[in-house]
Structures are given as structure tokens and as C-alpha cells.
Symmetry: C2
DNA sequence: CGGGCACTTGATGAATCTCAACGGAGGTGG
DNA sequence: CCACCTCCGTTGAGATTCATCAAGTGCCCG
């Protein structure tokens, strides 16, 4: 019993606005966001359920349950039995690996429509990472066995899930090569761009990361310390590449009109668009 | 046209034995290893085709072609159109990301039965990594569209592939946390244990890595330099943990009777078996 | 028998972690 | 509404790991 949502905690819908001087507005999570009526709509928008017929979607929907979490609350912990697969409905969720040395690694930040948790037929019977609510959020959960049945009944869903997981594998491999080859400042820049693509919303002055990202989050994404992350961010701010404050960040020139020049730190993309210059 | 095996190169079956003082015997790759007759047997042993009926397997087999490569030969390069999926039949294959800084990252070493290359329905239309023959090897290739059809026709295959890719994602995430959190020596030790699990064969005196692994390979797996890898290996050798020579390695105590004690470098496993000790 | 490659080892310096201290924002309780 | 307190972010100085540069050895192959 270590955080598996068998007995879902009370949703914290009544959470007061966190925003002060922050330009980041908290995702508006209202109680009816997870009512049975709306879950259909949410599941229907999930990439791998998109192609299901209405009645099929309804059948699938019956297998899911909703769970609410408040910020920083644990959804599951590594080591717990991996018996459930989740889909984010509202808010954002962090996937974190805790290492023996006490250092936390932020593997991913998930938005509505993203899946996480246990994948069926996977050898592992335990979660290998922690899942934690980053914002006030609502997730839909299905048992592994039920999801397994869904995959068997609707092959197209299985193919979509495969594509998603394969994409994540590619991303992870990109992260591996960055951790191996790039200096801290470039890794932070790369993390910012990745977050921008994923969570950015256009605002006057640039891409605003629409969820509270701390220096520690950036450090945990980049395999460094909060101090180093802070130093890099200060540099970027001084150079005018970003604006930032307490748990909010705006990337001033995401498209790289001024940034992605060769030699510049922001030139490091997530995936090199063209063939890498071999060093023969 | 940059290395896609449209026109497969001549197999180099006649390659003379590389073994000198090395205890690593080259995989015995004979020409008939890839004859049509034997391909059925090979494909039937592939994890995700194992459950196909004989006639189904035969139909699938017809879609594959065999390609032979000699050591260090490129199977495909990153940036090339990703239009083919491969399965290793004989030998071993390295997946390598080449970074802009010229540093190579060794993502994986693949054994017979392992798949690599393009996954269908995946957004990417180009390979993101290089695939290179590590030993003399034979691979079976199928076009992405044909593989897509296979997946659609045999849902069980799709589920198996999903499980495999999901497992690789977990591994990759483990690597990420190691690169982020562990010092060089521990990363090398961890790489050795991973290789041991994957490529090790019992031999008197310990687990012998049954494929030629250079210091540079270890460095590229661990995100460090050949010099650092060499220093770590020298330490391990002095401590009696391993034996090694020119492109061969024997792990003397893989089960960790003497090694996996707490505090020891070899205590770092690939995935922590029990809940991580939080540093609260 | 010569050259190249894999490996080793040492010295140096740069990148980055660690430790430490400080300022401000936001939230809490009086 | 103000005082306090905690957490986030910042910055500096010192310690440390690690990459880099530079030789040097032995094995294998041509």
C-alpha cells in the first residue's frame, strides 16, 4: 500500500489560485472535469482512442476510473505493484526516478491525453519511477488486465500505443546522447526548448511554459544541480533569451530567429534535423 | 542513398578468425546461416513471431530479405530514409548516435532475435542513429509497410513488439538516471553488468562477454572517454573484479558474491530491485 | 619487420559539484 | 494588516571529478 490509488484521495478542486505575480495560470480544474459525462470526451481526444467508434469508446470508458490529486501528491511510487495504466485528464504529472544517491531524475512531464503507468505484458511487475501530480490534476486509470483486453480487442489502439512508446524511446535516446555529450548550459537550453514544444503557450513576448517549472525541475531534467541550473538561467536571462521568475519561464525567441545560430547554446535542438557532421 | 541496404553488400562469411589470445570466439556465421531454409527457423525463434502458426510464419518469412555485413560495416546511417525494419539473425549489431561534437554514443548492442531499424507509424521518417555490424553478421530486413501489414494482420505480434519497445524504454530511462546520478567508475561497472546479462557466457573464471567490446565501446555506453574507461577497467582488474585484454572482458563474479556488497561500485545494478532509499 | 590500433598511464586544467550565505516571494498566524 | 517563516532562487569561493593532452607499450596485421 504505497500510494496506489486503490482508495483515491479526496480531490483538491477547491485549491486556491497559486498565481500571484506568476504569468502561469493554473489549469482550470473544476470538479465536473472528471464526471462520467466528460470522461468520454476526454478519452475520445486521447491519441490512441481517437479512431474508436462511439459505442466502442463508451465500452472502453466504462473500464476507466477517475482520480484526483493535488500538487505534489504522489500517484504511485516506484516499487509498488504496477497494476494500473493512467491517462492524464487535467493538469500535469511528473515522472521521477529517485536514485540511491538521493538525486531525483525528472523523466517526463505529462499533459492531458498522455499515458503513463504500467504497460501490459511488460516483464516488470513494479513501477520503476514515481508519478507525482505537478499541478492540481485529474487522471483516468484502468487496470493492466483491462487495458490488455482493450489492446487485444482493438488492434488499432495497440498500434497507436506502440507508436507513442516508440516515440518516447527515441526521445529517451536523445536525452541519453545529450547527457553524454553536452555541457550543462546546453542541456538546460535543450530542456527549455523541449518544454517549450510540449508545454509552451504563445504569449506576448514569447513562449510561456504553462506549468510551474522550478530550477530544481530543470536540474532534474538535465542531470545537474539546482545551482548550476540557476546559473545557466541567469546567463540566459542576462542575454535576453528568456524571462523567468519563481516557477515560471518565458522563452523569448523559441523559433530561434536570434537563437539557433551556430555556436549558440540554443542551437542545440532536441533532435538534429539533418545528418550529423561526422568527425571522421 | 546513404547506406540503406537496397543493394546488399557481399557477405563476408570468409572472414578469418579474429581470435588470437582472445578468449572471445567469433560467432560462427556460415553462409547457409541465411539461406531461405534457415530463415524460417530464425524468424520462428524471434520473440514476437514465436506464437505464429507454421503457415503464418511462412507468409511472414516471404516478406523478409537477408543481408550480410562484415565487422564495422554500416547497415544504415542516421538521416537516411527509415524504410526498413531489421532482425538480427547472426552476429551482433551496434546502434550508435553520433553527436555534433563528434562524440559517439553507443545506445545498444543487439543479439540474434533483436529487432532494430524503423518502426512503422512512427512520426520519424529518418533513422536517428547509425546501425553498424559489430561482428560479421546477418540481418533480416522487411520494409516498413510490410511490417506494418504484419502488425495489422497479427495483433499478437503487435503486442509483443509493444512489450519489447516498452522494455527498451525502461532500460533507456534507467540509463538516463545513471548518466545523471552516477560517477564514471560506477557507470562503467553498470555497463559491464548490463553487457554481462546480455552477452555473457559462462566460462571458467566468470562471465565472458561473447563479443569484442573495446574500451571505446564502454566509454560510448557510459558517456565518458576511452581514457576514463581504461582507468576504471584497470582499477577493476587490479581489484580482481574482472579480467580483460584487447577487446575482451571477463567478469569474475557476476552474481556479486563478492561484488555487490553495499558501497562497492558493482553494487550499482541496472535497475534497483527494491524500493529506492529515499533521502528524505 | 614496420605501422597502426587498442590500451595504459601521468600531468594539467577546465567544468561542475559542494558548501555556504543571502534576498525576496508567498503563505500563515496573530 | 503586519510579523514571521519557509521555500525558491541567486551568487560566491573552494573542492573535486573528469576531460584533455601527451607519451609510451604491446599486439596484430600487412
Amino acid at each position: 500500500m504505497t500510494g496506489t490509488p486503490e482508495a483515491p484521495t479526496i480531490p483538491a478542486w477547491d485549491r486556491s489560485q497559486d498565481a500571484g505575480t506568476t504569468p502561469v495560470r493554473e489549469e482550470d480544474v473544476s470538479p465536473h472535469g472528471c464526471t462520467i459525462a466528460h470522461r468520454l470526451q476526454i478519452l475520445g481526444a486521447v491519441p490512441f482512442f481517437r479512431h474508436l467508434a462511439a459505442d466502442e469508446l463508451e465500452a472502453v470508458n466504462d473500464l476507466f476510473s477517475a482520480f484526483g490529486y493535488e500538487p505534489q501528491e504522489t500517484i504511485y511510487m516506484s516499487g509498488a505493484a504496477a497494476e494500473r495504466l493512467f491517462v492524464v485528464a487535467h493538469g500535469t504529472v511528473k515522472l521521477i526516478r529517485r536514485t540511491a544517491s538521493g538525486q531525483d531524475i525528472l523523466l517526463d512531464i505529462l499533459r492531458p491525453g498522455d499515458m503513463f503507468g504500467s504497460l501490459p505484458e511488460l516483464g516488470t511487475r513494479e513501477y520503476l519511477e514515481d508519478a507525482e501530480a505537478q499541478t492540481s490534476c485529474c487522471v483516468l486509470g484502468v487496470s493492466s488486465t483491462d487495458f490488455q483486453r482493450i489492446l487485444q480487442r482493438y488492434p488499432k489502439v495497440a498500434l497507436s500505443v506502440l507508436a507513442i512508446i516508440a516515440g518516447r524511446l527515441q526521445d529517451a535516446q536523445g536525452t541519453i546522447s545529450q547527457l553524454s555529450a553536452m555541457p550543462v548550459e546546453a542541456r538546460i537550453a535543450s530542456a527549455l526548448l523541449k518544454l517549450g514544444e510540449k508545454l509552451g503557450v504563445e504569449s506576448e513576448g514569447g513562449l510561456l511554459l504553462d506549468t510551474p517549472i522550478s530550477r530544481q525541475d530543470l536540474a532534474a531534467m538535465s542531470g545537474t544541480t539546482t545551482e548550476s541550473a540557476s546559473r545557466a538561467m541567469s546567463d540566459f536571462r542576462r542575454t535576453g533569451l528568456i524571462e523567468s521568475g519563481r516557477r515560471w519561464i518565458r522563452i523569448k525567441d523559441p523559433d530561434g530567429r536570434a537563437c539557433r545560430r551556430p555556436g549558440h547554446v540554443f542551437a542545440y535542438g532536441t533532435n538534429p534535423p539533418d545528418g550529423p557532421p561526422r568527425a571522421d
